[in-house]
């Protein structure tokens, strides 16, 4: 079945270091979304990418959508302790109506 895979599963960084999580889909996606879930919280929408090769920035966060629209990445520059949490990518199910979430990358930031 359709899958969205994320790596790494976990990442420990020192505050100030950069961080990247990668998302790969088994199918071509019409769009991809990214969510952040703080510890003890619920997922919160960050961004949606639609165009092939699209790059979007939100302050220290840079999101990319691959040319083939099958992969995406989230890069955080100079991590801060407030970046701690789990980052999920998500793509639309080709059969419609629902969303396929990646397993998430859990980011730990040491001060």
């Amino acid at each position: 079945g359709q899958q969205v895979m994320q790596i790494p599963q976990y990442q420990h960084v020192q505050e100030g270091e950069d961080f990247t999580t990668y998302c790969n889909s088994s199918t071509t996606l019409s769009n991809i979304q990214w969510y952040k879930q703080r510890p003890g919280g619920h997922p919160v929408f960050l961004i949606q990418l639609v165009k092939s090769g699209e790059v979007k920035k939100q302050k220290r966060l840079t999101f990319q959508f691959g040319e083939a629209k099958k992969n995406s990445s989230l890069h955080i520059t100079a991590t801060q302790t407030t970046d701690v949490g789990t980052y999920f990518c998500a793509g639309p199910y080709t059969g419609g109506f629902k969303t396929i979430f990646g397993a998430g990358t859990r980011l730990f930031v040491k001060a």
């Binding site: 019409s30 769009n31 979304q33 969510y35 879930q37 510890p39 003890g40 919280g41 619920h42 997922p43 919160v44 929408f45 949606q48 789990t86 999920f88 998500a90 793509g91 639309p92 199910y93 080709t94 419609g96 109506f97 629902k98 969303t99 979430f101 397993a103 998430g104 859990r106």
Partner: protein, 117 residues
């Protein structure tokens, strides 16, 4: 912040009890979802609905049932709770896109943390 609510926020219950987790949204969204998630782990879709009187089972086999009698309300019921049901249950909603394959932003509720003894 989105207007989607879940009650109770925390629930401790004995094995065999029937429970209903409530979820309501005031955004008029057609699509609603239930996810099961262990802390910091993967989201597992257990039920979804794309409108009143329409419900579908998700990817994770679940012994729960749902109903969608009103647009704003999407309760989840466990007829007989078991320790294996201990988890966090997240409700979400989204608009319907122009195309049935569209993926709209999902707004999540705060979740219900369930502990079955």
């Amino acid at each position: 912040e989105a207007d989607i609510y879940q009650t109770p926020r925390y629930l401790v219950i004995g094995t065999g009890k029937k429970i209903t987790l409530e979820c309501s949204q005031t955004m008029g969204h057609d699509k609603m979802y239930w996810y099961q998630q262990d802390p910091g782990m993967e989201l597992h879709l257990i039920h979804y609905s794309y409108g009143v009187n329409s419900t579908e089972k998700g990817d994770l086999s679940s012994e729960s049932t749902v109903s969608r009698i009103r647009t704003e309300h999407f309760p989840l019921t466990l007829e007989s709770a078991r320790p294996s049901h201990t988890s966090q249950y997240l409700c979400a909603s989204s608009e319907s896109g122009w195309m049935w394959t569209d993926q709209e932003t999902q707004y999540f509720g705060p979740g219900t943390r369930l502990l079955v003894l």
